[in-house]
Every structure is written in C-alpha cells, then in structure tokens.
Symmetry: C2
Subunit: 444 residues, 2 copies
Amino acid sequence: MAEKLSTSPYKGSRDFYPEEMALRKWMFSKVRGVLESFAFQEYDGPLLEPFELYAAKTGDEIVNQQLYSFTDRGDRKMAIRPEMTPTLARMVAAKVQELPKPIRWYSIPNLWRYERPQRGRLREHWQINVDLLGGNVEQSNAEVLAIAGAIFKSFGGEQFVEIRFNNRRLMDAFFAHLELGAEGSYALGKLIDAKAKMNPEAFAVELQKILEANSKQASDVPAKTLIFQSFLASDLAGLSKIAGLKDSAEFIKATQELLDFEKQLSNRKLPVKTKFDPSIMRGLDYYTGIVFEAYDLSPENNRALFGGGRYDNLIGLFSKSELSGIGFGLGDVTLMHFLETHKLLPVNQDSQLIYIGCADEALIPHSFDLESQLRGQQRAVVSGQGFDSLKSHLKAASRVQARYFIGLLGDEWARGKVILKDLKTGQQSELSVKDELAKFLAAT
Amino acid sequence: MAEKLSTSPYKGSRDFYPEEMALRKWMFSKVRGVLESFAFQEYDGPLLEPFELYAAKTGDEIVNQQLYSFTDRGDRKMAIRPEMTPTLARMVAAKVQELPKPIRWYSIPNLWRYERPQRGRLREHWQINVDLLGGNVEQSNAEVLAIAGAIFKSFGGEQFVEIRFNNRRLMDAFFAHLELGAEGSYALGKLIDAKAKMNPEAFAVELQKILEANSKQASDVPAKTLIFQSFLASDLAGLSKIAGLKDSAEFIKATQELLDFEKQLSNRKLPVKTKFDPSIMRGLDYYTGIVFEAYDLSPENNRALFGGGRYDNLIGLFSKSELSGIGFGLGDVTLMHFLETHKLLPVNQDSQLIYIGCADEALIPHSFDLESQLRGQQRAVVSGQGFDSLKSHLKAASRVQARYFIGLLGDEWARGKVILKDLKTGQQSELSVKDELAKFLAAT
C-alpha cells in the first residue's frame, strides 16, 4: 500500500480553516474600511514578477537568502513577490502621466520569503501596504501616520501604540558632521539600528571601534563620542542646541523638517502616541526623508508593529519621470498577535443560521420554496438533506451550529403552520408560514 | 545610463488597477453573498504545496506541461497551486474526524498554470471553488447545482445559462456494453469529449476507426455504431428504451440515478436551465458519478462557463478514511467575460467622496477635526493638502472625482459656516457647520 502524504501545510505557511479565515476576513475588512474612509483605493498585481525587479532594488539579504526564484518553462527568471513595492512602482510607472496625483493606493497581498519560521515570521504572510505618492511632502507624511493611527483605533488598540519617527536627512547631516567616510557612516548606522538589541557596554565598545577606525585623527574621538551621545539622547527641541551640530546648516534644515512634521501631526490629533527617536534607522539604502516605526508599548508584546518612510524616485527603474512618496507595510501575523495580546478579537457572534428540516417527503419541494424565500430576505439557510424525523434534523441543526430550526410536518403544514425552535434559548412554537414566521424572523 | 525595465506584467498575468480591482471585488462579493446564504464557509490554504500533491492526482498535462514547480532553498520540491482540490483534500484529511458533516466549503484562490495566453486562458486566474463533502449524494448533487444557478441569478444572467449533466456510471456501463476494452473505451471517451469541436463527418470516421480497432469481430461494428448513435441522440426518458442497452443492469441503474437527480433538480426549481447530455465527459479519470458543465446559450459567448462533478475518496492520498463529495470551479476570467457579454457589470456608481478644501492656514486644524467627524459617520473623506485658493481646491476635488466639496474660509468659518458644493449638480450653498451640514449629508 502506498505511503500516505503528510496533511501539514508547507513549513512557514498556514491553512486557513473557516474559523481562521473568518478572523482574517474580519481583520482585513476593518482595515479596508479605514483606508477607504481616507479615500485610498485598493490595487493588486501578479504573484510572480521578473527577478530583475527585486535584484535591482530589494535588500541583498532578501534577494540572496530569502527570495523564491526559479526559471519558468520559457526560460525566464521569475520570483514570487517578497514585497509589494516593486510591483507598485512598476504599475505606477506604466501610467504615471495619466494617474491623478496624489495617488492614494493600498493593497493586501500575500508575500513569500524563505525564512526560518519563528513567532511573527512566516514564509507566507499578508501585508497591508499603504502608499501616498506625488502629494505635498509634509501633508502626505502626516496623513499616512494618521491612517496608521486610525487603523489601530478601529480595533480599539490605539492606546498601546507609539510611532517613533526620524529623518534620514538628519542622519545624513549627522554622519557628514562626524566625518567618518562612507564606510564609517554605514557602520555607525547599522550600530544605531541594532541599539535596542544590545547592552549599553557592548554598544559603547562598538561605537569606540567605529569612531577610532574611521577618524583621521585619534584625538577627535572623544569629542565625536560626546556629540554622538548628546545626539542620541536628544529630544526634538534639543537638537538645535547640540554643540557642534548646531553649526551644520544641513542638520538645522533637517531639524526644521522634523519640527514641521511634528506640527502637522499635532494639527491632526493622532489617536496614537508619536515621538521623535534618533535611533530609528530603517532601510539605510531605501528611504530618503521621514522614517518611522511603530511599537507596542505593553510589556507582553514589546515589539515593532510596522514601519515605513518616505522614498524618492520610486519609479526610477522603469521611467525617467520622478515620483516620491511615503508608505508603510503592516503584516497580518503582527497585527493578529497585537489583537490577541490586547484581547481585541471579536467575541464569537451568535450564529443567525436557519436550518429547515422536513419530516415528510411530500413537503420537500415546499421546504425548498421556503429556503429560497428566506435567502431572498438575506438570511443564511441550510436544509436538512432529505426528509427525516424531527429529532434527527435537530441533531443535524446543532451540528452545523444553526440558531433557528424550522420543522415541516405533514399535519402542521396542512394547517399552514411550521415548528420554529430557537436553538439557543430552547423556546419552541408553532407559527403560521404566511404571517408569523416572517414577522418573527424580521424581528431577529 | 542603465536600461529601463519593462512596466508590463508577466505574460498571462494581470495588473489590477483600482478600477479593475473594484470590479473584481464587486464580483467576488456577490458570489460570497450567495455562498454564505447557502451556509458555505470560506477557507484558504498556502499558495505553495509539495509537488507530490499534484504529481499523484492532477492530470498529466497539467503536471508535465503547465505546473510551476521548483526546488526550495531547503531542497524540497514545491509547486505553485494549479488547482485548489489537492489543498482542500489535504486540509479536510487533517481534520476529517472532527469536522461536522456535511462539509460546505468554498474558496477563491489564485491559481497558476503555464499556458499559452489566449481569450479566457491566463497563467494566473482566480477560481471560485465550491465543494459539498460527506452529505447525502442525491441531495448534495442537486444543492451544488442550485448554488451555481443562484450565482448566475445574483448577477441577473440566469436566463443565458444551461447546465448539462451526465453520469459517469452511465458511461462506464455503456462502454462495458460495447466491449471495446480499456483502451477502446478510453479512446471513445476522448472522442465524445471532442464532439462539439469536430464536424460530423470527421467524427463518424474516427468513431468507425475506434470501433473497428477495438472489436473482436468486424461484424459487430454496424450494430455497435447503431447503439452508439441511439445513445448519443437520446434524452433522459429514452435511455431505458435503447435496444441492447436496456438489458444492461448497470446501465439501467445509472439511468435511474439520473432520473432521481432530475427529480431533485425539479424540486428545487433552479433559476437556470438544466438538461441531460450524454456527450458531457469531463475529467475521465477523476469523477465517479454525476458530472456537469454549464454553457452560455447566447451566440456571442457560446462557450463552457464552468464544470464539476462528484468524486469519491477525495482524501485517499492522505488518509485511510473515505469521503466523497461534489464540487465545481468557476474562473474569474470566464465569469467576467460572461458579465461583459450580457452587459451585467454595474453601471458606474456616483461617487460619494467628500473633499475638504481649506483656504486659510489657521483653519487647517479645524479642517482635520471636520474630516475625522465625517469619517466617524462612515463617509470617505479626502483633504486638500494644505491651504490654497478655493479655485485650486475645486480643481483638485474634481481630479479625485469627489462628489461633494466643503470649503473652509476665514470669514465664513467665523460665522460658523462652510461652503458646500455638489460637484455633480454644480449647486453651491453656505451651510452652518453645526446643524445644516450634518443634515445635508445625512440626506445624501
């Protein structure tokens, strides 16, 4: 006898049985509601894209270690999308002249990365992608954060969320001021990005190493260390007072951008907390302006929820036109964990399903008529399959978790009546098909 | 300068810009509504499945010529799903004991096949999969056809659809009676399947060839030809009178199954036409009972719309348990063509979008308050990005196809008023923010 195949889904992927599927649909439907109230429009693209789309723009780690790529039967190198931005860029580039600006688009694609599965990281996940392209920079930046806040508010979880933001231009000016060269700046950026995961001593040791290795004169290192510490400890108001940095015109300009951004946020009264955080780095190569990352503030789920930022020249791979935008991506696994942690999932709704059980063969056509009629009134209805005793039908009705049971019996039907039982309360009555049944159901 | 990449989607796949996406969402939302009114529950599975799932059950043509398969970074042979049934089987097999029967499930996955793209055949398409498992055979068969009919009715296209059905057991008995051996029966089945696409002379020639090559005595061929012709020309009532065949107990039993099935269909008063058709073969190896195929009767779109049938032992690859079911698959491209042909697509709905334009910087925070308030009333709202003249705002509002324009100006605001313009009718008025605006919008 042949060996049986495993019933498990592929490692890092999930089966959505009706119960899980209902949760996923509920979650995405809330998100869609918020996005559409902000006049964002949904788009979608193919699951497969030419490999070159990712080779050119996506980070090295993804392309070399995580991308699902293969050669198709026509010898074309293809990839399963690991992120949505290259598809967005391709689609926008194709119609960049005719699309009215600003472009407000969202998508909820499934994405694939070859990851070692762990909490919050799967090989297949869905990602809510929100992008606002070609609009006023300051307004768009704030609008996108307002949307992120509104999404969490729609689930009742806004009080747990803090969005921390920074400005890539500020970091560029800061790195330029430290005069560490390209390599030293890159290393320092990576170090800042890793700060939250390091202990302070190890962090200090690494910092010294980078400063020493990339400074022309060893005597500069103590002063640079001081500037670095003041910078990382500074709040937004303090930035313009940091000794040394306040003389950099670029740094002051980037500080002003952050202050303007904060003003826009305050105009919009976001439902979530927001805070300047100079340690937010995000995608060193990709972003060009405001960047942000949202955190769950609760100790049980203390982790990044989503991130995003402003990018220039989104469509450069495809077109000579330029288009800048701001966007973020929020994964379904992360959002679901957040909702679970804070007990924000919907309580099981009472079923409203109607089960029709027929105890008499001659009544079967009538039971189907009744079924169609109830469906016409937007009710979900299921019929017992064939005629059977009321007892058997009642068992079957509770198996499918029906709420209401309608029984058709010969004598009662001849008098124009059916049995109606509320399977939750146990109440049972005889109702006339013509008036009382419709009245009863209209009231439920 | 580097060469620019193409903005076209991969051959045989589609980009869904917001307009096309809105149509796709509309179409699937109607289908979901019908399926849920029949108490069918949605499920989903991973896009990738182990290659063996398809190698074992799916047809040779798909596996050898059309499957997208590759080896993952862990050396596991994987495939992008070309159909949903193997995933359904795997998921059901994993929980076959605990799932209450009958199982009423549906799914709308995207599927991939390496096809030469042509009208109605793409490499990526979405397929509505409806399956009823483990129920009473006759009732389930009819229920699934009733659902297919209800889907077409929900779009207002039921009058164009005819579902033609047959019984695989009838064909088996018929082939057995002709005594053509396994090879001859298989060839004859393929010929019948191709009948609609052949001219009658070529069909007759092929028929003779098959009968001659597979009959022990040449003298049997004329009688077999007659039986064949009578069979293919017969309606359901005539089956039991065909000379020769009426003595086959198996044939008569299968005829009775068809009569019972027709009775069930008539009990349910399907909104679409149904008809027995002995030339419906469908998936020679896969189905085991009732099979069916739906056709568009209109001359402009005279083609198969969808098909399905009853299968036994769905989960045999995974489990020793047995489970039979009936199901069908309906593709999004086919359904969209059907709706286009019969002009059943929704007429462009009037936009209800509200645009808020602010002509005074000091009012910007108030405009955001108003925005939030309107969103709280389930309205889609977009703001002009920053303060600007009313004229510029009005241009921007029409670019995003807003229906209503609300303008905030310093003097009017000081008197508690806003400008409201209906961009469709051109009517403009001054309304009080407190009462009149809410009243106006509640009435739209």
